[in-house]
Symmetry: C2
Subunit: 254 residues, 2 copies
């Protein structure tokens, strides 16, 4: 392995933790969070990896060697490594994925489906989360379709999971329309949106904020479950709330 010419801005490397979302929910994994993003979702839960001023304060420039050292140190027994962001698609991480494979690990990537990179071709699980209307982002339908098709046909035996965050009816319609394009994808998840700390009602005792959050997530999960089950077009779609948010609230690194 030749040294990587260009270090990558890393916001955090943490784990092992239990992955709380989508097709990997329940799996033990390490997380690598890269800095920088082409999107600005209004409900983004990782602004430190997105907003340039915050990224520049929080980032550490790391080579593949640096990252591998850290992964080996804190996750010696952990098979999965999840690369998230920000949007990791804005970086060249093929060398890192290769190094992780050589060390016997498997790699999952989470990205919004805007920029397809050739290094995705060797990733084991691609989770694509096109952003619904509540994000405030305008998604290019054609671009998203091209991305998903390219991921689904990358031919390395890896999986492609589609995961749509759903806060409201408009988001549900977006998920439905996307589903219509990819009926054959077995791994299509809808994920009830998780409220932010500032969305907790003002009259809630701070000591009960965690209860409030859990209730909000699970009530939304019930609503979304019932919407999915009563919509024949959504047959086969899977529902999974954010388990880490249920367990730990808004705490980071868990």
């Amino acid at each position: 392995m030749t040294p990587q010419s260009k270090p990558i801005p890393i916001i955090e490397i943490f784990g092992p933790v239990i992955q709380g979302e989508g097709i990997m929910a329940g799996h033990q994994t390490m997380f690598i969070r890269t800095g920088g993003c082409d999107f600005r979702c209004v409900w983004c839960d990782t602004p430190e990896a997105v907003i340039p001023e915050q990224v520049s304060v929080n980032k550490t420039m790391m080579t593949t060697f640096d990252i591998m050292d850290k992964i080996r140190e804190i996750g010696p027994y952990t098979k999965w490594v999840t690369i998230s962001g920000g949007n990791p698609a804005i970086h060249d991480m093929g060398e890192l994925v290769h190094a992780l494979h050589v060390s016997g690990r498997l790699v999952a990537v989470e990205t919004q489906g805007t920029i397809y990179r050739s290094w995705f071709d060797i990733v084991d699980v691609m989770t694509i989360s096109p952003k619904p209307p509540s994000s405030g982002m305008k998604v290019s339908w054609d671009k998203t379709q091209d991305f998903i098709v390219r991921s689904m046909t990358r031919g390395n035996g890896g999986k492609t999971c589609i995961k749509v965050v759903v806060f409201d009816e408009d988001d549900f319609t977006f998920a439905h329309d996307l589903r219509m394009l990819f009926l054959l994808n077995e791994d299509f998840y809808v994920q009830p949106g998780t409220i932010r700390p500032e969305d907790v009602a003002a009259d809630v005792d701070p000591r009960l904020a965690m209860n409030y959050l859990r209730g909000a997530i699970l009530d939304k999960t019930r609503w979304l479950t019932e919407r999915v089950l009563s919509t024949p077009d959504m047959a086969g779609v899977k529902v999974m709330p954010q388990l880490h948010a249920l367990m730990y609230g808004w705490r980071r690194g868990v």
Copy 2:
């Protein structure tokens, strides 16, 4: 298909619902619950399918034709059918599994790993849940091992998932010891035990019982997550709480 000579005691057929447990968590599925069980777990959550007096009151004797009619009626778009109990292994259900396959459906079975039946050979997902010490049942280690190996080698391309309910340290040790036997199984789940209604503290306002339950499950999920992550032997083990209990509490048929 020849008519089945012997109808099966069915406690309930319901769905579509979101499967709340293990490898199928998040999937849309129908449920078929058979009556009768060779076990008497102290925390059994389906006594109506286990205790003979309750089974005889609640059961309907149904042939494969009867069951298929019901499944087609209430779950026309649902791909998965989950057969649970009680213990479905005490019945001959090969004809039903075949009929479900012919109708384009996939079949998951949940059983405790005591009695292996030849019809399991054609099941798509076998979930084996050996009962830990807190169940009050004495599990034969050899029998469990034989069952799991036979399931893992059944050769139809189906999956074998091991799922251990964990209430306490003794249960965790049981799960750990079982894991040591099946390190290569990718689909080994631990599931935090869900308290029963009678375990809610007496001073809890009944209107808050649901909050109490959610808190109890999620606090146990955190404890179990941390136990798993800090135990190198448990690398690769997955953690998944009962999603239906988080969403709906002790309500049945959801």
